[in-house]
């Protein structure tokens, strides 16, 4: 009997979006992220060749090899992933960039680049696989580890954590979300939404390290996440307006956001009315969630998309890396004119 293989709108199966087998620890939160990335790209019907993966150093950055094998990838050096993305984005603006980083890579060594890549609005989905510790060097505190956290070889963390969504917000990110490796449904919707628009989109994924930082009391553990997760909305991404099934939503209980590629994000109100287009509300939410120890997830902020860095250069429609040589060298006459002005 022939096995039925489901194909997406460009005729590819989910297998076409697979990566190399993961070598991360069994149960690692990052594997869930890899799975949701490939599912999201597949469901959106984006060809894997139209995506590039760029990462830094750490367990998170290694994971870029574990999905989308048919996409170009560059696993660079610690903390500098955003710089590679900045240069690479000009090669062919039609290629979507998935930036894969971790809390060590982004919140410590690469914090400057993180904020500046946002300031430049390099069009990319910037995913932080945030486990609150250094995994690949075997369990040191990171800048997102909670104060008071105890790790085996480290003792007690004496410093307070940085909140990467907060850093993204004050740097001017137009799309900021937080999600959880234990909430793959929400994660996939957010990744799809982020891929459906063209500016920098930051997704801070709390992604437990099962080996070094998964004790119940740790902010980035599965059990803490499951017990404290407080989604700010139910999220569903739809390719088109027609697909939105409004009967699922009560009037006034949802908010629709149209994304740049024409798709829609529907946010269903859960508790109180949260306005993700209000920067102050977003900052308040993050402040409160840390203060009162709950784990707010969902689309924290969306401001529409300011012009991307590419759009500021008036580049040809054709990708820059395919321009033929004759379009890159000025004329002989122009050099003679320059010589004349320098006499």
């Amino acid at each position: 009997m022939e096995k039925h293989v489901e194909l997406n709108r460009i005729g590819l199966s989910l297998a076409d979006y697979k990566g190399k087998p993961s070598t991360l620890c069994p149960g690692c939160g990052h594997n869930a992220i890899s799975n949701q990335i490939q599912a999201a790209v597949w469901e959106l019907g984006i060809a894997p060749e139209k995506v590039m993966k760029i990462s830094g150093i750490g367990c998170s950055s290694k994971s870029a090899n574990y999905f989308l094998d048919r996409s170009f990838g560059f696993n660079g050096i610690h903390g500098r992933m955003p710089t590679l993305a900045t240069g690479a984005c000009f090669g062919d603006p039609s290629i979507k960039i998935l930036g894969i980083s971790g809390d060590g890579d982004t919140a410590s060594i690469g914090m400057g680049h993180f904020k500046h890549v946002i300031r430049r609005n390099v069009p990319m989905v910037y995913i932080i696989e945030n486990n609150g510790c250094y995994g690949l060097t075997k369990g040191q505190f990171s800048a997102t580890s909670d104060q008071g956290l105890r790790l085996k070889h480290q003792g007690v963390n004496i410093l307070p954590p940085l909140d990467l969504c907060m850093e993204a917000l004050i740097s001017g990110a137009p799309f900021v979300a937080r999600t959880f490796s234990g909430d793959v449904k929400q994660m996939k919707q957010l990744i799809k939404a982020a891929l459906s628009q063209n500016g920098v989109a930051v997704i801070d994924v709390i992604s437990p390290c099962v080996t070094f930082n998964n004790r119940d009391e740790a902010l980035q553990s599965y059990s803490w996440g499951r017990e404290h997760e407080a989604p700010i909305q139910d999220i569903a991404h739809f390719q088109s307006r027609e697909e939105i099934q409004l009967e699922n939503f009560e009037e006034g209980s949802y908010r629709e956001i149209q994304l740049q590629d024409g798709s829609y994000l529907v946010l269903k109100k859960i508790d109180k009315d949260y306005d993700p287009t209000d920067l102050h509300a977003a900052l308040d939410l993050l402040t409160e969630s840390y203060k009162y120890h709950y784990f707010a997830t969902g689309l924290i902020y969306f401001s529409g998309v300011p012009p991307t860095i590419q759009e500021k250069y008036d580049l040809p429609e054709e990708s820059l890396n395919r321009l033929t040589k004759d379009r890159l060298r000025p004329s002989r006459e122009s050099l003679e004119a320059i010589n004349a002005t320098l006499y």
Binding site: P48, K53, K325
Partner: protein
């Protein structure tokens, strides 16, 4: 041709077109414009001239010197003494006059304290700057600036620069602003007229107009490097400001709009982006190179230190990029506005682990243009970072140099393959050596073939880019990269060799901006009976011509601007069988090389019988 109305000094002769003029001012006073006008005037008179700006790391208020050397014989390297001092700075006037020799000339603003000149026969021309300024109506904020234009007129007249040449230079300086040109010329004319009527010429120095230097232009190495890159099809430049490399990128910014519009669409074909630091400058340039753009950055020592890790990544992922290093004095922050050749050793194996880089070393401004485009070709052909090693003297000073020549080779993109070409390969792998030259075929983003993608990484990888910790694989991979770079030598510029008029058993070797001083030193040595051939190394790794030169001389003196004799050390390793034939002559201090010091140092070593390490 000499001005017959002028009385010759008893028993002396005129010194025609051989003069070194030091203009001593306060920085931020607008003197750079005045000095450029004098400098260009000499150039327009057909005289081979150099202009060196010795300036502080400061914006306003500190002492600065501009030294113009005119030489009928074509010697334009720095000299340690001055023939003419133009003293406009009260803070330095007493020291400035000490550089004058017998027969020297002092022009000084007469509101400054007149310096005492001991044991020297110096002709002194006071300049009544403040008095003259009272005769003209100049806005207060332009007073200091216009005072500088007065010395242009006075000094110009006394040295016999024709008034119309000064006028043409001013018009060149203020091309787009004819009224500004006119008001400046009026001040220059005032000074000129004052000198004509009031100064009796008693000195020997006289400038005489020669046929036009029509094959030459007047510009700096940074502008030349920027233009070279733009003509080389550079598509991305990520950078961060640092003296003395900043003006290279700024020159590109000023000219990119005019030069790099796509002929088909009128859109831009080159992106120049200032980023947050040099880590990002190197990272973005590397990212662009990986994405299939011709990419470069420009920096200086401290910036290069920060770029190191990314350049190692470029080397190991075999990603093309060009790095201009316009050297200043290090270590550390060093002397940011002074020149040196102290980064050679650092660059040659920059990065941890086994690395070996290719360095192009321009020695003239015209070569900065040429290496600007050539470096991009070599980087893409060999898929590796290429360094262009300039320095502050070459980069920021304005030189009389040969006109830029249009690239004589089409743009080289190397082994980039797109969808169709990829189909021709049965078993392509990003790091497979299919041609036996160590250079693999390269795909870039946007190649939509399902077979095109690979995972670039700084970690161990096999021929397909897959992660590997296998010892043999590692050894093969790094071995091939090494082999690939052995091939690069044939594409690097040959050394420039200037033979002695008679057979010589001594070689003198230099690199980069010391070229003019080296030629003069070679001639001084010949006058003193020491015949030497001169070789200027223009690239590393060294090629066979460098080896043969060293081999064919009993003693080779390697002259350079650093403490440890870095070029001498590298050549000693590269041409190790002849290392006994190499002797280091090196000097630090932040100033350009002088021929006199070089010749003396070599003569001293020769007296001791050569080799003294």
């Amino acid at each position: 041709m000499l001005d017959s109305t002028q009385k010759l000094l008893q028993g002396d002769e005129w010194i025609v077109n051989e003069v070194c003029v030091a203009i001593c001012t306060v920085n931020g006073s607008g003197s750079a414009t005045a000095n450029s006008i004098l400098y260009r005037s000499l150039f327009r008179m057909g005289i081979l001239t150099s202009g060196k700006n010795i300036f502080p790391s400061n914006i306003k208020g500190l002492s600065t010197w501009f030294v113009i050397r005119a030489s009928a014989r074509g010697y334009t390297g720095r000299v340690a003494h001055d023939d003419v001092v133009v003293a406009m700075n009260s803070a330095t006037i007493h020291k400035d006059v000490t550089y004058l020799q017998d027969g020297g000339v002092l022009f000084y603003a007469d509101h400054l304290e007149k310096p005492e000149i001991k044991d020297k026969d110096v002709i002194v021309y006071p300049m009544p700057i403040k008095t003259l300024m009272k005769q003209v109506d100049v806005p207060r904020n332009l007073q200091t600036y216009m005072e500088n234009m007065l010395y242009v007129g006075i000094v110009g007249q006394v040295l016999r620069i024709p008034e119309e040449i000064l006028k043409a230079s001013i018009e060149h300086q203020f091309q787009s602003k004819p009224t500004v040109a006119e008001s400046n010329f009026n001040i220059v004319k005032l000074g000129f007229q004052y000198a004509l009527e009031n100064i009796e010429k008693k000195d020997h120095f006289y400038l005489e107009q020669l046929p036009e230097l029509s094959d030459y232009i007047l510009t700096d190495g940074n502008n030349a490097g920027a233009l070279g890159a733009l003509y080389g099809g550079v598509q991305f430049c990520g950078w961060y400001p640092i003296t003395p490399a900043t003006s290279l990128v700024e020159s590109a910014i000023e000219q990119v709009d005019k030069l790099r519009k796509d002929p088909l669409t009128g859109k831009n074909t080159c992106v120049i982006l200032q980023v947050e630091d040099e880590l990002a400058a190197a990272g973005a340039t590397l990212g662009a190179g990986w994405a299939g753009l011709r990419a470069m950055t420009a920096t200086s020592g401290p910036g290069l230190s920060l770029m190191t890790e990314n350049i190692g990544l470029a080397y190991f992922t075999e990603t093309p990029m060009v790095i201009w290093n316009v050297q200043r004095v290090g270590p550390s922050t060093g002397l940011p506005t002074r020149t040196a050749q102290g980064d050679l050793s650092m660059i040659y194996t920059l990065g941890h682990g086994d690395t070996q880089h290719v360095i192009l070393i321009p020695g003239t401004v015209t070569e900065c243009f040429e290496f600007g485009w050539r470096s991009l070709d070599i980087a893409e052909k060999y898929q590796t970072p290429i360094f262009v090693l300039s320095d502050l003297d070459l980069g920021m000073n304005t030189w009389v140099t040969k006109r830029f020549e249009y690239p004589n080779q089409p743009i080289e993109r190397g082994k980039i393959i797109w969808e169709e070409k990829l189909e021709e390969f049965k078993d392509w792998g990003r790091y497979r050596d299919l041609d036996g030259d160590g250079i693999p075929y390269r795909t870039v983003i946007g190649n939509l073939s399902p077979k095109a993608a690979y995972f670039a990484r700084g970690t161990g990888h096999d021929e397909y880019g897959n992660y590997s910790e296998d010892p043999k694989n590692w050894s093969d991979m790094l071995g091939r990269i090494g082999r690939k770079l052995e091939g690069v030598v044939k594409d690097l510029p040959e050394p420039v060799i200037r033979r002695s008029k008679v057979e010589a058993d001594i070689g003198i070797i230099g690199m980069g901006s010391t070229h003019d001083a080296m030629i003069e030193a070679q001639d001084i040595l010949a006058e003193k009976g020491v015949n030497a051939d001169y070789m200027r190394v223009r690239a590393l790794p060294a090629n066979s011509a460098v080896r043969e030169f060293i081999a064919s001389h009993a003693r080779n003196y390697v002259v350079e601007l650093n403490r440890d004799g870095q070029l001498e050390q590298i050549l000693s390793l590269e041409v190790s069988e002849y290392s006994e034939k190499l002797t280091s002559i090196s000097v630090i201090g932040g100033l350009p090389l002088t021929a006199a010091w070089t010749a003396e140092s070599i003569l001293a070593k020769e007296k001791k019988g050569g080799k003294t390490r």
